[in-house]
């Protein structure tokens, strides 16, 4: 049976982002948490592979205890199992540290065929993790796929790579990174919600892994954030209000100010 793992992250919903001016950190209180939007495409791919190839799908996340809620959502969408990797010692892990913890997790799990990730997280937006996990587990990372098929434990796909479109084959296990809008993530059904609360979420912590000391997120992460600033904008940011007609009139006026006029391309002179 195809063993599918989808990596997700819980992120703050970035609607009304505020920064504590004194400490320079993000105010997280009262901010709603959601599944990282890009990860929904990864989940959808995992679920459709499960259906197509009779697989088993596990959603996995590393995060604080409340990330449990994001996993419940995954269960409601139809994943079979959920794993929460959580330990105070993993807090403040940067990408490298997170990768090292995930490597420990997969070394423990041993039996995996396809690991799927989204393209970026909306909070830290480093986009580095899939590459690093590919290094850590020494398995190929396939990105920008547009068709795929699994046959006799081999993975075939068409993908874009640089300026080429390639047809490739590779053995499992592999890591797949989904791109945005690659598919249409499904909605959660009522039945799904009920199911989500009947399932157990498996908990992994530092001791489960028999972790090496270097997995201390706070003290061993190589990068350190020293300051956060709200971006200062130099553009006018004038909102054009009014009815659609008002907006269009103003827009045409702005275009005029920039020397844009209707040009005569209709009939040529000789005709």
């Amino acid at each position: 049976m195809l063993k599918i793992f989808v990596l997700i992250k819980q992120v703050p919903y970035l609607h009304n982002l505020e920064i504590d001016r004194r400490t320079g950190t993000l105010i997280r209180e009262g901010v709603e948490n959601i599944i990282n939007p890009d990860d929904l495409y990864a989940l959808e791919l995992g679920l459709s592979l499960k259906e197509q190839y009779d697989g088993e799908i596990t959603a996995m996340t590393m995060g604080p205890p409340q990330a449990d809620f994001a996993l419940r959502e995954c269960l409601a969408m139809g994943v079979d199992h959920a794993i929460l990797i959580s330990d105070p010692i993993f807090a403040y892990s940067d990408t490298l540290q997170t990768t090292l913890v995930l490597k420990e997790a997969f070394d423990n799990i041993k039996d995996y065929d396809i690991i799927i990730t989204g393209s970026q997280t909306s909070d830290s937006s480093t986009g580095q993790m899939p590459y690093q996990l590919s290094e850590a587990l020494d398995i190929p990372l396939i990105t920008d796929i547009f068709t795929m098929e699994i046959k006799d434990h081999d993975f075939y796909c068409h993908r874009n790579f640089g300026h080429e479109s390639q047809h490739i084959q590779t053995g499992l296990p592999i890591l797949v990174r989904t791109q945005r809008h690659f598919n249409e993530p499904r909605h959660i059904s009522l039945k799904g919600i009920k199911r989500a609360f009947e399932k157990e979420i498996e908990m992994y912590n530092f001791d489960t892994f028999n972790c090496p000391d270097y997995l201390d997120g706070c003290n061993q992460s190589p990068t350190r954030l020293v300051k956060t600033e709200k971006i200062i904008l130099k553009r006018k940011n004038e909102v054009i209000d009014g009815t659609t007609k008002d907006k269009i009139e103003r827009l045409i006026h702005i275009m005029q100010e920039h020397g844009i006029e209707r040009i005569w391309t209709g009939m040529s002179q000789d005709e």
Binding site: H15, Q128, I142, Q169, I231, E238, L251, M255, H258, R262
Partner: protein
Amino acid sequence: MSDITEYKDVWVFIEIKDHVEVHECALEILSKAREIADQIGQKLIAIVLALDAEQYLPTIEDYGVDKIIYLSHNDLKHYHERVFTSLIYNLIDKYKPSIFLFPSTEAGNALAARLAYRCRTGLISDVLNLELSDDYGNNLLISDKPAYLGNVLVKIICPSTRPQMCTITMGTFQKKKLKKKDVEIEEVEYNYDINGLKIKILGAPIRKDKPSSTLSDAKFVIGGGHGLNSKANFDKLYDLAKYTNGQVGGTRRPIMNGWMPEHLQIGISGETIFSDLYLSLGISGAIQHVVGITDSKTIVAINKDPNAPIFKVADYCIIGDANEILEELLDHYRVPE
């Protein structure tokens, strides 16, 4: 962990674009890296891996390098993650650079992330500014990068591991010609066995050649995004362009949707525009796109989502349906029959 004081010099990965030319972004980074190297009194070294790499060296020498280390081989014609990662990792291991900078491109991001893992060091991506400071440690690099979808700027350091690695977005720094005397050139022998690679390519790949575009010279650019919803709607941009002497461009999404040819992409992996007016329709404002439009004098954005990040970089913000407004504009500018 090895002693970080053993690490010295500033390295820049020179990406070769489409195996024909040195990527502009690499030259921009060289110019900034020159300043940093001068401040810490160390060398600026360019790293080149390519087929017939020698042909690129004169261009690189014009941008302030003290030394070029290069590998030249047929297998290096295209970026290959395992080959490039291993070969460059060997160089890092041997020479121990203190700072290593990469263009923030698909290859640059991938390579930097893999190398950072192998070196167990930090990587800061899409850096918008770099400075040296003694605030947190001796001559430490402080990198500014956008986070939370470009809503905030964070300053990040990498205090105790080396190299300090960053990827840098195109257009962040200005390239400046500067020729050092006696540039040292070192060729490193290629030795990678590609037979062990796990991914097999079946059949000849289809090359998607890029015709050249006139976007960077256009005075009026009309940019379309995924929000136009269909090819039929996207096609109307060409009509508007025809009536107004504009030039159509767009984000990566319409390319993926099959609405627009690849050479009209604006942004980090496409063109940078310098228009008087940029009119953006149904574009969210991803940083990869935005870096290509900020040199436009005026930016007008139309998006139905009042929170779309594009509004943060626009002079005029129109919240509304791009297709409806496009239709009205066509009515206004359409040449009477």
